[in-house]
């Protein structure tokens, strides 16, 4: 059971660059692999394996298992990372340039993505208190967004979500 990488996000910026990296590691840039990567480059935010499999409307769908195996491989290379926002499927994104960390509201499910540096003060406090090095890229910081926290305070006993 292979697992995720904490490979430091070497910045990969082009498909070719990644292709080389894949081959350097003894892998091959097969058609599905390429299409997964293209879809990841095209996406503007983390996407599910399923969305990657469906791909562009032009071409036929990719086999889901291949997509997962590709993502696993790319993740081991440090090229891709996935995040678990709430209860849904895992979402995948390229690690290069604009890595993000996430805050999720567990009431309205809204996702706030921020630059990791913005969460450094939080990390500092956590490290000070527990020695723990917090990361909000793989699992987000969960709680109530400002709006929902306010709503919660007044409106005691309304609709709820897990």
């Amino acid at each position: 059971m292979p697992h995720a990488p904490h490979t430091p996000p070497l910045p990969f910026s082009s498909l070719d660059e990644i292709a080389d990296e894949v081959r350097r590691a003894g892998g091959r840039l097969s058609a599905p692999r390429r299409r997964v990567l293209e879809a990841l480059f095209a996406a503007d935010g983390p996407v599910s394996a399923d969305e990657l499999a469906r791909g562009g409307p032009g071409d036929g769908a990719l086999e889901l298992s291949s997509v997962y195996r590709s993502l696993e491989h790319l993740e081991a290379l440090g090229v891709v990372a996935h995040v678990h926002l709430g209860h849904g499927p895992g979402l995948y994104a390229l690690t290069g340039a604009g890595a993000r960390e996430h805050l999720v509201c567990e009431r309205c499910d809204r996702v706030t993505s921020v630059d990791p540096s913005q969460l450094d003060p939080v990390r500092d406090v956590v490290r000070e208190l527990f020695g723990h090095h917090a990361r909000f890229s793989h699992f987000p910081l969960v709680g109530l967004c400002a709006a929902c926290a306010a709503a919660e305070r007044s409106d005691r006993g309304a609709e709820r979500r897990s």
Copy 2:
């Protein structure tokens, strides 16, 4: 699709007290329900529905679906809450007295449970920066524990986990 409660943890301390609460809400304290509660009282930490279903070695196993339905019901009453630590099954615990929040190491999977007040400084920073009210009871604070963070710094490129 019913969902979890943020019902303020009214402190329930005995099975009888909970029994009354269940009935007050128009519910019944059926045998499986009682056994789930007994198991939760007996447990010293959050347990999976599956563990609750197996129950004590003496008695036959409970139906898993009933366990889930009981937990759902008790959760709606604010008597029980569940937490998602990593990728495994959800874990359930009584809400009374010793409510805890959790830090998980995503490398060694170690869980650190703390009194919610200990995380207030973290909550303060988060609220200040994002207006977000962080909660680490339903989803934990994820990152690297002190030991693994140190290991990560030296030992670059060892075994990894998701």
